[in-house]
């Protein structure tokens, strides 16, 4: 089979690619649900109602959307510049750890404490990503492998912390960290739900990243560094410095996600704070075609799949792993759909 590049990618196909990808993924997931013997249409109905059907469901979905927006942005800004940050999971955990750890040491009045803790979390994420990116620039070490391996190291470190120096002595042997002080908790948006003001911070970040990408020199440079590094260097783009800045932004967003999650939802650190938010962020970014505003919609979709499936699988006894299957299938389908937006089969 031979392909040729389309002179002009059709708009409907570029914009419709995520919808096609999601449809294909749901179709294939439907086949797998049928394999379990559950009624497929009822299953999808229950997924939708568990994700959006009630006030509580909606707040749960939005709670889950918040970290996904931030990790999705982290992946999107990095991938635009072809910095393959697969370490958002580790940066998320280190950000959450840094926030909890810093909250023990510093004593600030209420309005200052929350921003300082968020900044600390973001900074932890920055450090964790800048090291692999510098290693790549200096020694040519593929950052994919180093960021992936760092995920395992950070998770072990968090486990060490919550069983050791950050352990909550009141938790009766359950490994969790000391709780954050009440002043460091984010306010609830809806009473009796888990939804917190972190959602607004995530949305603001999406708009800020979009504006940065669209209107700033840095945005142009980072895209150029990703699309054609040689040409960009020739045109005077400082490649190394641009990639390090991209790493700061990407790692910072992932670290911020961790800090916000721990301050908004739980109030203490455990090793199951994230059900793979870092990895799902990659799917979110790809479904959004690396567009910062698209990330919000894609994060909502992925969150809905997870929350909806939770309810469905409990009711119909379909293994809840179907959520991860659906999300990963939509990533693969999206890659293919985007390909056909740019190429066509030569006859």
């Amino acid at each position: 089979m031979q392909f040729e590049r389309r002179a002009r990618p059709p708009i409907w196909l570029t914009l419709g690619a995520p919808l096609i990808a999601v449809a294909v993924a749901l179709l294939l997931a439907g086949g797998l649900i049928a394999l379990s013997g559950a009624p497929v249409f009822e299953a999808f109905g229950r997924i939708a109602s568990s994700a959006f059907g009630s006030r509580l469901a909606l707040t749960e979905t939005l709670t889950r959307t918040t970290p996904l927006i931030l990790t999705g942005l982290a992946a999107a800004v990095a991938f635009r510049a072809r910095v393959w940050n697969i370490g958002a999971e580790g940066q998320f955990y280190l950000g959450a750890f840094a926030a909890v750890w810093a909250a023990r040491g510093i004593d600030l009045p209420w309005p200052l404490l929350i921003p300082v803790l968020m900044l600390t979390g973001a900074l932890a994420g920055v450090v964790l990503l800048v090291i692999p990116v510098i290693l790549r620039l200096r020694s040519g070490v593929d950052e994919v492998v180093t960021t992936l391996l760092l995920n395992f190291i950070v998770l072990l470190f968090v486990s060490l912390a919550v069983e050791g120096f950050l352990r909550d002595p009141m938790a009766f042997g359950w490994p969790k960290s000391v709780p954050l002080p009440a002043d460091a908790r984010l306010d609830k948006l809806v009473a009796k739900s888990r939804l917190h003001t972190g959602l607004f911070i995530a949305l603001a970040c999406a708009v800020a990243v979009w504006a940065l990408d669209r209107f700033s020199v840095f945005g142009l440079r980072s895209r150029a560094a990703g699309a054609a590094p040689e040409a960009a260097a020739f045109a005077g783009v400082p490649l190394g410095r641009t990639l390090v800045k991209v790493a700061c932004l990407s790692g910072g967003l992932a670290g911020l996600a961790g800090a916000i999650e721990v301050m908004g939802v739980r109030g203490y650190l455990t090793t199951d704070l994230s059900p793979g938010f870092g990895y799902s962020g990659i799917v979110v970014a790809m479904l959004a075609n690396l567009n910062a505003l698209g990330v919000v919609a894609a994060a909502l979709f992925v969150a809905a799949v997870f929350v909806g499936t939770d309810g469905m699988s409990r009711a119909l006894e379909v293994p809840s792993y179907i959520a991860d299957v659906t999300v990963s299938l939509s990533l693969l389908a999206m890659l293919v759909a985007l390909f056909f937006a740019q190429w066509r089969i030569r006859r």
């Binding site: 391996l149 470190f157 060490l160 990895y279 293919v336």
Partner: protein, 311 residues
């Protein structure tokens, strides 16, 4: 027992070969893919699926060798999928590989849960037993005798792959495809076909590495059991400078380190948190990457899609 005495025990060296086996399979598989110019980050998911497919085959009544065969076939199917996406369509090898890893792992867990409902203790199979091969050799006899058939298979595959890549026309064609596919095409070779073959065969090897975990090292399957071994393999490929013989060496060295830290953990576990020991293998992989990356001779066409008639 002192830290040094541990190094000279039979138990340590027997477990070194056991720990090395999945890494040997995985590293050789990833190496074969990269030698033709395709980075296969699907490895983690493919190993998981292989672990599940092999185990499930035996659990539902097949014999152990059928289980290995099913695992390899499943791996080949994933390899074919990776080849369609990265070779035919020329998609980003990074993102595609991650997609396959996410899909491979989650669909393994899903199928496993469908086949085996939640129970208190995970069900087990009768795993491969030690072969007893080479028991008569003085000194290392007990170490060799403790190994199971797949370990010997892994070593045989390493030797075979080293010979194939370095000494046969097919090996030359494969290496040429990874260095310069256009030159290979000019010689009348078909780079697309060669890449498909290598990625499919390499993925089958990865799946065998996963199957070893559930069919020899342990006798049950549980989610997240591969635990980053695939990523370690990707690092070991760089460490091996893309040579099968050094991949074998790298996997054994890595396993030695891993087995040693496990034993140190039981001796000194009270004084030092166990997580620090568990971190060491991952840290070691990163150090190996940093040290070797400067000297590595990367296949020149790695991660570059080949399209007929375009440069």
């Amino acid at each position: 027992m002192s830290a040094l005495d541990i190094l000279f025990t039979v138990g340590l060296w027997a477990s070194v070969l056991r720990i090395a086996t999945p890494l040997i399979f995985g590293t050789l598989g990833a190496l074969l893919c990269e030698r033709v110019g395709v980075l296969n980050l699907g490895i983690e998911g493919i190993m998981t699926f292989g672990a599940m497919a092999g185990w499930l085959t035996v659990y539902s009544g097949g014999d152990l060798w059928t289980g290995l065969l099913m695992a390899a076939l499943a791996g080949a199917v994933f390899g074919w999928l990776h080849a369609v996406l990265t070779v035919t369509l020329g998609l980003s090898q990074h993102v595609t590989g991650l997609g396959i890893t996410l899909f491979g792992s989650s669909v393994s867990y899903y199928i496993f849960r469908l086949a085996v409902p939640v129970q208190g203790t995970p069900p087990t199979i009768e795993a491969f037993a030690p072969l007893g091969l080479g028991a008569g050799i003085p000194g290392i006899g007990p170490i060799l005798a403790a190994q199971t058939a797949p370990t010997w298979l892994a070593i045989a595959v390493a030797v075979l792959l080293a010979w194939l890549l370095a000494r046969t026309p097919l090996g030359l064609a494969l290496r040429m495809t990874g260095e310069n596919p256009h030159a290979a095409e000019a010689q009348g070779l078909d780079p697309i076909l060669l890449r498909y073959g290598a990625v499919i065969a390499g993925s089958a090897l990865m799946a065998l590495g996963g199957a070893f975990l559930t069919m020899s090292a342990f006798n049950s399957f549980f989610p997240t059991m591969v635990q980053g071994r695939g990523w370690v393999c990707i690092a070991l490929v760089v460490f091996s400078t893309w040579r099968p013989s050094r991949a074998l060496l790298g996997a054994v060295l890595f396993a030695l380190f891993d087995a040693y830290q496990l034993r140190l953990q039981t001796s000194f576990g009270k004084a030092v948190p166990y997580q620090l020991f568990l971190m060491l293998p991952y840290l070691l992989s990163i150090v190996a990457l940093v040290v070797m990356s400067r000297r590595a001779r990367v296949p020149q066409a790695l991660m570059q899609p080949f399209r007929k008639g375009s440069r």
